[in-house]
Subunit: 713 residues, 2 copies
Amino acid sequence: MNKLYLTLMAFAMSAAASAQTWIWYPGDYEIWLGNKMNNRRTERGAFFPPFWKTDTHYPVVEFSTKIDLAADEEVEIASEGKFNIKLDGKLQFGMPSKFRLPAGKHSLNIKVWNQNTPPAIFVSGKTVKSGSDWKVTYEDKEWIDESGKASDTSATVYMPAGCWNFNSAEEKPSEFSLSRKPMDAVQKKSAKDGMLFDFGKETFGYLTLKNVEGNGTVSIYYGESPEEALDTEHCETLDKISYTASEITDLAVNDATARKPEYTLGNSKAFRYVYVVADNGMKVGDVGMDYEFSKVDYRGSFKCSDDELNNIWNVGAYTMHLTTREFFIDGIKRDRWVWSGDAVQSYLMNYYLFFDSETVKRTTWQLRGKDPVTSHINTIMDYTFYWFVGIYDYYMYTGDKEFVKQIYPRMQSLMEYVMGRTNKNGMVEGMTGDWVFVDWADGYLDKKGELSFEQVLFCRSLQTMALCADLAGEKADAEKFSKLAVSLKAKLMPAFWNEEKKALVHNRVNGSQSYAVTRYSNMFSVFFDYFTDEQKQQIKKSVLLNNNILGITTPYMRFYELEALCQLGEHDNVMKEMKNYWGGMLKEGATSFWEKYNPTEKGTQHLEMYGRPYGKSLCHAWGASPIYLLGKYYLGVRPTKPGYEEYVVEPHLGGLKWIEGDVPTPNGCIHVYMDKKVVKVKSGEGKGTIIVKTKNGKKIVSVPAGEEVSVKL
Amino acid sequence: MNKLYLTLMAFAMSAAASAQTWIWYPGDYEIWLGNKMNNRRTERGAFFPPFWKTDTHYPVVEFSTKIDLAADEEVEIASEGKFNIKLDGKLQFGMPSKFRLPAGKHSLNIKVWNQNTPPAIFVSGKTVKSGSDWKVTYEDKEWIDESGKASDTSATVYMPAGCWNFNSAEEKPSEFSLSRKPMDAVQKKSAKDGMLFDFGKETFGYLTLKNVEGNGTVSIYYGESPEEALDTEHCETLDKISYTASEITDLAVNDATARKPEYTLGNSKAFRYVYVVADNGMKVGDVGMDYEFSKVDYRGSFKCSDDELNNIWNVGAYTMHLTTREFFIDGIKRDRWVWSGDAVQSYLMNYYLFFDSETVKRTTWQLRGKDPVTSHINTIMDYTFYWFVGIYDYYMYTGDKEFVKQIYPRMQSLMEYVMGRTNKNGMVEGMTGDWVFVDWADGYLDKKGELSFEQVLFCRSLQTMALCADLAGEKADAEKFSKLAVSLKAKLMPAFWNEEKKALVHNRVNGSQSYAVTRYSNMFSVFFDYFTDEQKQQIKKSVLLNNNILGITTPYMRFYELEALCQLGEHDNVMKEMKNYWGGMLKEGATSFWEKYNPTEKGTQHLEMYGRPYGKSLCHAWGASPIYLLGKYYLGVRPTKPGYEEYVVEPHLGGLKWIEGDVPTPNGCIHVYMDKKVVKVKSGEGKGTIIVKTKNGKKIVSVPAGEEVSVKL
């Protein structure tokens, strides 16, 4: 690994001094914050942490930089943790908040210990400022040699420091929380033994009980539907608050505070409806809430001639906003964990909505955790592969090489884990402890042997390794993974293509192809470009538009199915399908999109999942895929070189009269307008190419940065 | 690894229900407590954490047990961390301090999250009690399958829970601290600009400033010698306390409290002398201290006809007591860290003094830390090997198989790290980042190529792996490591034995033996029994008693040198040497034994080390080796089967008139008396064998448990 770290060091040295900001060991803050996030889940008042290994920050790290000062300079030092200062290798007294650096060339090291929160520092002087150009290590491997001299060793692993946006001494990273805003219920009415409050739409935050009279217990039952809130035996989340003359106690966590007229609960919940029941003799004056949200900008936009579709886009954007928290989570009611398969879709939607790179990076660090790798990400084999794919996508959309370099060592160790679990064909099969998920399917999905779906994802992961190894300057790795990817790709068709069925079969057990064909590997092979053009057209007929193949009922896999169809030119059909499927949810009263939707179900059937009457999440990130589809396949914008250095606009009306919108890029956005007569594109950055069908055939037109280009159709 | 865990589970199931006690993930509390210990080091007022990777506890773990109750039972639950309760897989509301378990067979799981201190629980009912018979895991890998049912998987790694002696709900593990007792200085006098206090002997604890008048700064300079305390520019440790009218602030940590007449410092220091200097206009009334110590019992004893030797034993015991803290540390003044090479000797001395197994186990966990292994233990190659050797010794003295089983997975991963760094000969050489230490030597020690010393330690480590794999039920590992050990052992003599020099040479570089002979590998090969009897006698002459071979000046290696000489029957010479060397320190006024002693040095030369005038530690665990030598080679007691199931008493007067003492065993002690006429032995447990030379030749006599046996000489 030494070669890599030398590269990283070179990077750290050459990076321009960044603005002063709090810094930490890359990934450590993200993993620690992720623990707070993942441990807020409750199930009917029971605390519910994840069932995979929880990692945490390095308790001791050392930050360092080289300085070269024209004159003495006093720096302000803030720290999260006990720290020491070493100037040119010499320890300085105490933990001063101000320290004078002498003129000239010096090395400055600050070592921090913090058991509870990630060790972090903020250094601020006239020229010396902590930033991502500082180095950091968790084992400085410095020792005193026989001559009594302290000496560094080249084996010490230095990384460029991690940071976010905590740019003043007072903004301590460990004290970060999302934003809040008070909201009121829009309706309240008596129901059963208490009151039912309706906040008008799916929301998320901290309930406030107001003016409670009397002593006893107030029970709060949350619902994404009125049925759920009123079903005190089966609603997924609830709270119980005890009032005495002097104290208010949250019974779920035994947390007591002095009694006061307004009491806001300590843990957040997702709900639209709240059913509040108080003990006899008590009265609850009113309830309110603190809506909690991430301060991301709506940089993407979409409007068109169809109001239902506009509504779909808006509800999709709101769904994405609700599930974009400290991290991209799956659903806000039940799981509230970070899941890799869900996250990789949130990333893609994010590129067409917020383009918030920080949340992508945080989520990627959080999911990966620390070494050693002892299981797949979220214990799910497919989710390990999505993690790699997510980094590929991130690089394509943002062009951020520095992140790839920082995360590459963890890519290496995760891929080592995967490679250690391949069979004699170099393919992955579910082993003890692996969850082979694929999808929640209404029919039986065989998980035995070599699944074509898993090999396709594995192949893409190997390609990602090759790409990122190259970016990280790991030439030997790049070559190795490139070869492995080529080798696995070459095996896919012989192993799974069935000429009779004109499709990849679902799996191969003990070397024998099964008879089953499912959509998963076929649709991924379309947009991973693993098929020939001929095969793609065959697949469209034999699988994607074939009603005899087991249908997809989750928006999760519908995301990929519709993407594949768009890639095969089925924009009009996909548009109809979007209106049917997401329009169908809206007609059912959805104010955010669901974990699963089956148009043939009725009434409260829509609320069931996992064998529980309200098990289904009615606000699930993977439900928001029109955000992505409309941006990428109707506005038609996608990067063709990393970070939108070059991009393509290939817009499609999909049967609409006109569409218009913005697709965000790293430092700006691409504006697209299309009606039946014209396409107009303007972007502040990047080299664009419009590809459209006109009356006179296919037309390819360049879009220079800053100029609006119109193409007549 | 599955096989192992099945074995461990079987153990957990079969173990007798232990007394109710706080439980945690094995090693986690020890590693966390170790961080507190290792991060208390300061150097001239600067915080000074270790320079190797600091690990920490798993933030989320799940405890579980199976219960079978004749009747309902209410249990009290105390927890360090947020927790949930699952009864037969069903989550229960909240975090109750009391919970009713129903009659019948049930599974009980308690999952705890704690970021700051190790997740731990205490469960106490009539029959259900938390103890080491509970299981614990850091990744339960439970998931919901397609049918909506939660299901466990056999891949989950369960370990028997870790515990110590926190046996009531109130005794929270995270609140543990060593014992304290107030002590006064025995002398005070004016010196230079302040007052010099003498506490009469080396001591350790928290200084108290009494009745300080005026405002300003009080500077405290600590010394193990008066010279050090009075040398404000060079003393190794110091404190600065600021007084205002209302506040007292520890300037090293910026910690302020309200002003009061007596102020005890927050961080402990080692000292005999304290030089206190106050700003002009201030007056310090007096100082005192809180002596801090580990509550271990002096179960071993030694008395003899020679008062100097009795004094050596007593000062050795006190040195051991001062360095036996939460862990066995090296020296109390400067390092205050846990070092493997020092610890392995402390373990051996401990077996002849306190026989405190808990401190041995804690130290072993702490040193090892967590996976992944990224460097040698304490970054030192030899120290990795001592860690293995320490487990071998621990098992021999205590017979504690359960600990071996718990630690075995970490032995595996550390040995994997070592194996990954062997050369084409299967030998270890210093690689980038490795510190090849051996000893602080006054002459030059070549560290290049294959050192015979490192291979000897490596070989013993492989033997330890083979032994422990067998105990852990890992048959394949046992065979593998056994073969590796045999193979390496067979290479030692061809590689390093020099027939001309009648000794192992120091090292081999590029296949060529060097000319240098040093004592290290030769003496270890004596007591590891790697030599033939003929070679051993040759070594005695060619190396051990040969003044042309570079001499040893550290009590660290003197420990092993004298042990080797005892094994070669040189008891009379070793006795003289003990009196010379340790008696020499006493004549220099030592009240505890030193890190290094060179009899040819004079006055303050004795205080120097590492190029610093007071760099040397005057209270260093490795200085206490007579405790071990007198117990093992003069009282002559050693186990021959694990845990003193069988043992040998082979006493030697070493030129003294009589010796008498106790050697502790797991549950009792072996009393030995010897004079020129008789040997008397009595032990409460184990099958003893006395081996003595009498007028009529060698005599072998059995000692049944509980009987006193006398042998006339």
